[in-house]
């Protein structure tokens, strides 16, 4: 197997020249069109009648600097909540999914409960669950009532596990029946097959939606601030109240996007790989 680089015939040389010319043209065109489009956008935006006011209201560097520490402190709350809620929701979602796929009549009520759970919490706006759990439930003054933050976290876990349960279930169903047959024919029991053969494959299959839900969760954890704790968005809101300027929201938004980019990039990569694998299979 040679790895010769130089094409040898006249036709090939001509083709190479043509291609090289095309590559150069491509780069030029790309640069040119980027420049033109970029200029157009800049002119359109900054030349618009309200641009000065937009800049003053949304892009004031002084205000951004002043608001940053508080917003960062709030973001730390988001990150911590994300961490715990993501694990909690994954664990609870998996349990609910397993309950929903149980076979046999004894498990009928468990299956029904699990189904009802996924329907309820996929249909219920997070904000209602949050209000009920963080404002309503403490009013009962039951013993050992946890803090608002924990209650808010529970609301997030409950809501998201409703989604994740369905994601896991779709993953379990997407494992080919022949894998079940192969495992059972070796003498493995239902549990062993689920544990060692089906679940590992199911989780791999649904990695893209799981990651997607994590990105969504990252954006939603901040809603606990409706119940009091100060997250990044709320910190921006407070700063906005001080100054009557929307720059703090932009700062919070940029931080959120920066925080999300790695997660989104991983999600896209995993999703495309899965899509291509599906295409390739």
């Amino acid at each position: 197997m040679r790895t010769a680089q130089q094409p040898r015939s006249e036709a090939a040389r001509e083709r190479t020249v043509h291609r090289r010319r095309q590559t150069v043209r491509s780069v030029l065109i790309a640069a040119g069109s980027t420049g033109v489009l970029g200029t157009l956008l800049v002119v359109a935006v900054t030349g618009a009648p309200g641009w000065d006011r937009v800049r003053a209201s949304f892009f004031d560097p002084g205000i951004a600097r002043a608001a940053l520490p508080e917003i960062l402190a709030g973001l730390w709350l988001n990150v911590r909540l994300l961490f715990f809620c993501a694990f909690g929701a994954l664990a609870l979602g998996l349990v609910v999914a397993l309950l929903r796929t149980l076979r046999g009549p004894v498990f009928f009520p468990v299956r029904a409960l699990a189904t009802g759970y996924t329907y309820t919490f996929r249909g219920l706006p997070l904000i209602i669950v949050l209000y009920v759990l963080t404002l309503g439930v403490p009013g009962l003054r039951l013993q050992g009532m946890p803090s608002v933050l924990v209650l808010g976290g529970i609301a997030l876990v409950i809501t998201y596990s409703g989604y994740l349960a369905e994601v896991f279930r779709a993953g379990i169903e997407s494992v080919h029946p022949s894998q079940w047959a192969a495992a059972r024919s070796l003498g493995l029991t239902y549990r062993q097959t689920m544990r060692h053969v089906v679940l590992p494959q199911a989780v791999r299959r649904v990695a893209p939606p799981l990651l997607n839900d994590t990105v969504a969760l990252q954006k939603d954890v901040g809603l606990v601030s409706l119940a009091g704790p100060i997250d990044a968005v709320r910190a921006a809101q407070i700063a906005t109240a001080d100054t009557f300027n929307y720059t703090p929201y932009i700062v919070a938004g940029v931080l959120f996007v920066l925080l999300a980019i790695p997660l989104i990039a991983v999600t896209d990569w995993v999703t495309l790989r899965a899509a291509r694998r599906q295409a390739g299979g």
């Binding site: 439930v137 009013g139 608002v148 109240a241």
Partner: protein
Amino acid sequence: PQESTPSTPSASGLACGKDALKTRTGGKLTIGTDDPAYEPWFTENKPENGKGFESAVAYAVAEKLGYARADVVWTRVTFNNAIAPGPKPFDFDINQFSVTEERRKAVDFSSPYYLVRQTVIALKGSKIAGAKSLADLKGATLGAQVGTTSYQAITDVIKPSGKPQVYNSNDDAKKALQNGQIDGLVVDLPTAFYITGAEITDATIVGQLPQVGVPEQFGLVLDKDSPLTGCVTQAVDALRNDGKLTELEKQWLAQTAGAPELT
């Protein structure tokens, strides 16, 4: 406003010294308010500086109960959390809470420290800027913060033909007013003066809403059946009786006299 409300336990005979009070943290007095805390009730969102009417009242109450300035601890609780039923992270909360019978089911109130009127403000060029009566406001889009007596004033007193706009906070509502998204904003009178005087200078006070039923008063909020309610009420009563409240009102809310009345 001199009569304290009937369900307030009698303060007489209570030992209200610092050592006798069972506060959340012994020897300290924990006072709640919202974040941000608004002018003119507080200044610079710093309740601990003693400036602004409510901050000053809070420190005066603390003093009456025997707490030095250093013994006062501030905590931040959102408006809606503070008046919701449930355990409270403060000994008392001061945040422009109007005393209502509904709220009394969920929390305790001290005797009132301020008599308040709801007020409509609007941009100077607005179609309702010159309104003289409630009837002039019927066709306006009005806004208020959710869960406040201001919102109730819209639906119960003004009864406009259009749907009111409701905001999570007065900040959002002020922004909407400034943007022209609402014609008028309903807030309490001192807040109205502060907004029109310092925040949205091209806004003006349209007028005070008529008082229906019992006069609206601000009281300190305490946990339901709090052991402190009696003593706090006693302290507020004492401040009222020795003229301290009037003095603080003059100092921090001086300009609030003379807003037009809407009929």
